[in-house]
């Protein structure tokens, strides 16, 4: 009880420091109603809402600078190319990459992971090799590796986890061998919220000369990432989960690795010279960026990063942690609720089931109350199988969520359970 009181007190303190009402005012969609009720948006793990600066930047791109990038000598092409390249440098600073050429602009996390599976796979994976993933991956970090293993006759190994949703590091150590050619794990689990000990995972892999890919789709908007400090080899994330538009994402890779990999797709932008006899490929990063990219989303990613930087990623994390603690303590007061994912270190995800109630039914009633959550398997079916459930209800947080959102969610859940039980 004392603990809860202290936590709550601390929370109020943080609230004052962080001007949440000002932040909420930056997101126009939060003013709307759903089913006659004020919107309570708790599906941020699926995608975040966009601040007005990002929305305005989309319009501004098309009203003021629309033109293809990296090819025109004319003015508009130059300014759109400049703006697109600003994003690359913003991302470089944001994750502390050595150089902007190590930042590949992709369509999103899935695209980034598929790029590595295809290109690293082509160059380095052979029959009998092993790739290690973890038991808490979502489908985007399972299926590309399965496809690669099937094609090459390689073997997929899976790091197990305990009932709290924490990886078994001893099992991981014993999985690492001379056969291991790549480790690909998530930084933060989308279905459980677990923050994995990625630095240790990377260190252990490097001790065996194995590169590591981190899926940072659920981490980059909550946790400060320094790729040099982590010494990570590949890092993948999406724009749309970090307040930027959909259709843009990032693959960071160490230059020496990217240089040693063949191109991904063939087409414009990725070539140096093309004749019908032979094509020579462009330098990094363009080697991996065939075709016209999603220019407006790419440009707006820089605006979203500015937004995060203005608030401060450490402040965001502290605030969201307090909010998650508050939500966790509140939901534990409801009888029959079982939290799925109780790792010691968690970020922004509250996944749960209720005895005798289907997650779908809870989702429908909450929706009627204007509360958006995700229900189902969260594209992580193996995780659900492990807990022997078909799915969960997931509330996932972003920087604009408030204590009132949590209170409304808890009240809505209580009301739903009254109807459903």
């Amino acid at each position: 009880m004392d603990m809860y009181y202290l936590c709550n007190e601390n929370f109020e303190h943080k609230l004052k420091k962080f001007d949440i009402q000002k932040i909420r005012a930056d997101f126009p969609i939060l003013k709307r109603e759903v089913n006659g009720k004020p919107l309570v948006y708790l599906d941020n793990g699926a995608t975040t809402q966009k601040p007005k600066t990002v929305i305005d930047a989309i319009t501004n791109y098309y009203s003021d600078m629309n033109s293809n990038v990296h090819r025109g000598v004319h003015y508009l092409s130059q300014i759109s190319t400049d703006a697109f390249e600003v994003t690359r440098r913003k991302v470089q600073e944001f994750i502390n990459a050595r150089e902007d050429a190590e930042v590949i602009i992709t369509k999103g996390t899935t695209d980034s992971i598929n790029l590595v599976a295809a290109c690293y796979g082509k160059a380095f994976i052979h029959a009998g090799d092993e790739i290690i993933i973890s038991a808490m991956e979502h489908h985007s970090n399972i299926v590309p590796w399965q496809m690669l293993c099937e094609e090459k006759g390689a073997v997929l190994r899976v790091i197990p986890m305990n009932n709290y949703g924490e990886l078994d590091m001893d099992a991981y150590k014993s999985l690492l061998s001379e056969k291991t050619k790549l480790v690909s794990v998530t930084y933060v689990s989308n279905s459980l919220g677990t923050i994995n000990p990625v630095k240790e995972i990377i260190k252990l892999a490097h001790a065996k000369n194995v590169p590591v890919l981190l899926d940072a789709a659920q981490a980059v908007q909550h946790i400060a990432i320094d790729v040099q400090d982590l010494d990570v080899d590949f890092l993948a994330f999406s724009g749309h989960k970090m307040y930027a538009p959909t259709g843009v994402g990032v693959l960071y890779g160490k230059r020496e690795l990217l240089d040693s990999m063949p191109p991904y797709q063939g087409g414009g932008d990725m070539i140096k010279d093309v004749t019908f006899e032979k094509t020579t490929y462009n330098e990094l990063p363009f080697k991996f960026e065939a075709g016209t990219p999603n220019i407006e989303a790419g440009i707006c990613l820089a605006v979203a990063i500015d937004y995060i930087n203005d608030l401060g990623i450490e402040n965001i994390r502290a605030y969201e942690d307090e909010l998650l603690d508050y939500a966790t303590s509140k939901i534990k007061e409801i009888a029959g609720v079982k939290i799925i994912g109780e790792a010691a270190k968690k970020s922004s995800v509250l996944s749960f089931v209720v005895d005798g109630v289907h997650p779908y039914d809870i989702g429908v009633i909450l929706d009627k109350l204007g509360i958006a959550v995700r229900t189902g398997h969260h594209c992580a079916q193996p995780v659900m199988d492990l807990f022997n459930i078909s799915g969960t209800v997931r509330a996932s947080l972003a920087v604009y969520n408030t204590k009132e959102d949590i209170d409304n969610f808890i009240a809505g859940l209580t009301r739903a359970l009254k109807m459903l039980l």
């Binding site: 289907h358 039914d361 009633i365 009627k368 189902g376 078909s390 799915g391 109807m419």
Partner: protein, 138 residues
């Protein structure tokens, strides 16, 4: 009663419920009235795909008419399938295949027909009509 008479009756029933909460409570209640599928038929063959929750639907041809039995692991979905069974069960294959299910819109459940909804009401309707066509041609 014809399919349309049953639909009209349901539209009248639902008109008594002012707010969504009463409506959903009624749907949940209807779920308890659905003729339950025999446990032995709760197998993959009788699962309707496209639902976040599981729906089992079993058709039977009795004296030229089709009877449906069903179940679901989610109670709102069970209510929705119960509504469909109420309307379509006990009719000939041709009547089922030709049915215009206007009641769904009129009782305010149109949102559940959207393909993006995970409850698969659309898939249920489609499957019931497919069963009817299959049994008709037998």
């Amino acid at each position: 009663m014809t399919i349309n008479e049953i639909q009209d009756e349901l539209i009248e029933d639902f008109s008594f419920y002012g707010d969504w909460m009463e409506k959903y409570e009624y749907i949940i209640q209807l779920g308890k009235e659905v003729p339950l599928i025999d446990e032995q038929y709760k197998i993959d063959q009788f699962i309707i795909k496209g639902c976040q929750s599981k729906v089992w639907l079993f058709p039977e041809l009795v004296d030229g008419k089709i009877n449906f039995k069903a179940d679901s692991d989610a109670i709102i979905t069970k209510g929705l399938v119960s509504l469909m069974v109420k309307v379509l069960s006990g009719h000939t294959a041709k009547e089922i295949a030709d049915a215009d299910l206007y009641f769904i819109d009129q009782i305010g459940l149109k949102e559940h027909l959207s393909p993006t909804r995970a409850n698969g009401l659309l898939a249920m309707v489609k499957q019931m009509k497919l069963y009817a066509i299959a049994l008709q041609s037998r």
